[in-house]
Symmetry: D3
Subunit: 181 residues, 6 copies
Amino acid sequence: MFIHKIDEDVSLKLIELSDDERVFDLTNNSRDHLRAWLPWLDKTTKLEDTKEFIKICLNGFAENKSMNTVIIFKEQIVGVAGYNSIDWENRIAYIGYWLGKGHQGNGIMTKTARALTDYAFNDLNLNKIEIRAAIENKKSRGIPERLGYVKEGVIRQSEWLYDHYVDHVVYGILAEEWKGK
Amino acid sequence: MFIHKIDEDVSLKLIELSDDERVFDLTNNSRDHLRAWLPWLDKTTKLEDTKEFIKICLNGFAENKSMNTVIIFKEQIVGVAGYNSIDWENRIAYIGYWLGKGHQGNGIMTKTARALTDYAFNDLNLNKIEIRAAIENKKSRGIPERLGYVKEGVIRQSEWLYDHYVDHVVYGILAEEWKGK
Amino acid sequence: MFIHKIDEDVSLKLIELSDDERVFDLTNNSRDHLRAWLPWLDKTTKLEDTKEFIKICLNGFAENKSMNTVIIFKEQIVGVAGYNSIDWENRIAYIGYWLGKGHQGNGIMTKTARALTDYAFNDLNLNKIEIRAAIENKKSRGIPERLGYVKEGVIRQSEWLYDHYVDHVVYGILAEEWKGK
Amino acid sequence: MFIHKIDEDVSLKLIELSDDERVFDLTNNSRDHLRAWLPWLDKTTKLEDTKEFIKICLNGFAENKSMNTVIIFKEQIVGVAGYNSIDWENRIAYIGYWLGKGHQGNGIMTKTARALTDYAFNDLNLNKIEIRAAIENKKSRGIPERLGYVKEGVIRQSEWLYDHYVDHVVYGILAEEWKGK
Amino acid sequence: MFIHKIDEDVSLKLIELSDDERVFDLTNNSRDHLRAWLPWLDKTTKLEDTKEFIKICLNGFAENKSMNTVIIFKEQIVGVAGYNSIDWENRIAYIGYWLGKGHQGNGIMTKTARALTDYAFNDLNLNKIEIRAAIENKKSRGIPERLGYVKEGVIRQSEWLYDHYVDHVVYGILAEEWKGK
Amino acid sequence: MFIHKIDEDVSLKLIELSDDERVFDLTNNSRDHLRAWLPWLDKTTKLEDTKEFIKICLNGFAENKSMNTVIIFKEQIVGVAGYNSIDWENRIAYIGYWLGKGHQGNGIMTKTARALTDYAFNDLNLNKIEIRAAIENKKSRGIPERLGYVKEGVIRQSEWLYDHYVDHVVYGILAEEWKGK
């Protein structure tokens, strides 16, 4: 019901239980595509798993610890994005996102990440946002780079991806840096 | 962040913790006005009480048992409305609402209740909606009556209001009745 | 162990875990009979389900939110009755009941409901009692009618019964009305 | 509401929240008397403490782990007795009890303990009952002795009583022993 | 990681989740041997059961209610010992223990029980320790007897062991008695 | 009771509730010293706060999510160190530590961090360890540097310290790197 409209084509909607089938179908249809960089595909094999994920999202939102949205492009759910966690003591949000197969290259995720950055600084009054991406994941790294995030380090062997470890690049942007943009 | 736009002036926004001050101020400024028909004013005397209320709302939303919104009129929070509870087994939603002092008479609540009725039937696929109002509360009863709800009974001494009991009129509308409208 | 004796033949006993087999057998032997008006038969198919129900009853009793009893007629459990919930803020109890097949027509339920009404007003000091019955369920409606309860409304499509909705008649009686009886 | 009648004068009633004032008053009026042998008097100084105790009793009953009753003598609450805990794996109940000041010497507690012993063996189908009493507490020790319980040991310094340790005599009776009586 | 060294050969180590396989294997290889006196063998048939037991141990330790260790003899886990519960109000610890098959007769358990008795009096500042053993279990009874514990009673039919009841001898030692040793 | 001996002078002991006074006194006596780099001093003003911290430590240990120890130097508690969290999915431990005033410069913390690194790789079988230190905190940064940890990044404005943000240097070491040492 609740929508944050970014432009004519792209909106964010707080994820809800009634999105379960559409999010699961998107996951299922993009399984190989997503599995290259996301660690949870093999644990998300049936609708019930997506339901469980949405419940965790909603509890995190209710406790003011996270906020997950579905990305709507031309009335279709094409991805998930949000704050995986919010550290209120240090005023930092951690943004995460993924797009289903075939939806890349339209600028959807750049717009989404810009909207989430804006909201974190302007409405939630946070001080910093971080985005992490695997060092080889060029597409994902392009998002914070296009938005002017600063590369702060390469955290080695940060994530186990089915059969190998992956290094993460950490990008960060400060409230004072964003304001100038 | 998340908005359901009803028309140029009126929107509903999922209630969030960051709304606490504005909702508490609205409550405080409308205290005498609201106390005539709502039983919780004497238990809502400080900001912390409103925070507690919002947490209960968010937990209910996360568990898919209720949904509460703030009503925004010309960028200002003017009231609270939503489904106090949703009975999924019998597919019934129970709508509740209040407007702060000075915001009556602009049709805000009728639009809000219509939007909530629409959403319950069209998106949540429910079968019935009920609205209860005190028998003497003409303004509140006007809302379901204008929307074509059917009066189903007068439940006597249904609520204790500080120092006396109040009879409630129960209004209901069925999905099949709403479709024709 | 604990009994409320109504007359020579009829008593109420707080439901206990050790009643599980007798309550389940009664349910099982009256399955078709009860299924006409009660929605939970298809979810009560094995002893474990009745145990779960009794635990919920006992927790409700421990939290002072409900009170369920087994009805004993000539040393045999013949039904279940009690306050499904007690609304202490508004001082209202909601009575529910059922009798196993073959035990109707002996006045057992009228005596039971009278005793529960008495206890709610005299000992619990409540202000109102409500009983709901499906509009077509003549036998069930006869109980509050015989005890002088007032018909307060017909709540349409109030309950989903396996494959159709059922309208409920709401009956209520106030403490001041009961005292004259 | 629920009573287990022992004889014309003495009954047991499952303890309920509505007994709070009467149990607290009895405690308060017997404070010095009870403090000689019971360790909880200094932690039971206001009505709220007795309420908390009753809630613990009711939760224990709901979970089938204990059962506490008030002893009613000529329509007045004169004490508390019951199974402090029930060990279902080994089928043992542990009986505890106290009488308010001035109610001793009428045989009330012997009748009560006999009824609790009967119920444990005949209805709960337990195998053993234990009663513990401080070695110097002649009156309390008289109860199991009169009922034929066997002295099984003296557990030294078993309980801290405000400013000194107390030795406990353990009495036990087996189902097979009780049947002969 | 954390060790309490008793002598060159024997140590106690706080039980940890990573001990699960070694404790389960020890249990499995000593099954018939242990089943003679311990009631939980038939409920410990797979690794998961031992894991569950270790979690309960760790929770009890975190809540300061119990403390369980694995006994290490020449770098091998040979048994489990500890305080099954600690009664802080009355300052009593209840020691329990078992050794795997083939490890008896080396004095391991006497050293272990002595260390646990020492620690309870000297570090935890308790007032009494109790050890219970089945009346026929000569080896187990030898431990408290060698350490100078006093026999305080025989609690009849205290434990159900698969197909028969077992009497327990209760041994106790007081802080003042231990100091002289 | 449970000790991990590093050398003649230095040991680690799993933190326990009975350490509360010594840890609180150490905190209190080092307050200004610690406040320069640790954010929790103003929330640790009474014994109860340290107790609460220890309970959180013990629960984390019981759930296998963290492990905190007190550092003992010549029989005196001089600091706290451990794994603030363990990420089992990615096999990473996060080490944290602090020393009370006057205990720096003895090599205690380097030995402690080496022992914790050893244990994480050799016993817990983890793949990576991270240590974070404020960029200006030379003493703290010296620990991972001396142990051969690799500097992986500078995470800007990572922590709010009473009245300003602090940048964190992230150091990491991999299992394969440690083995060669």
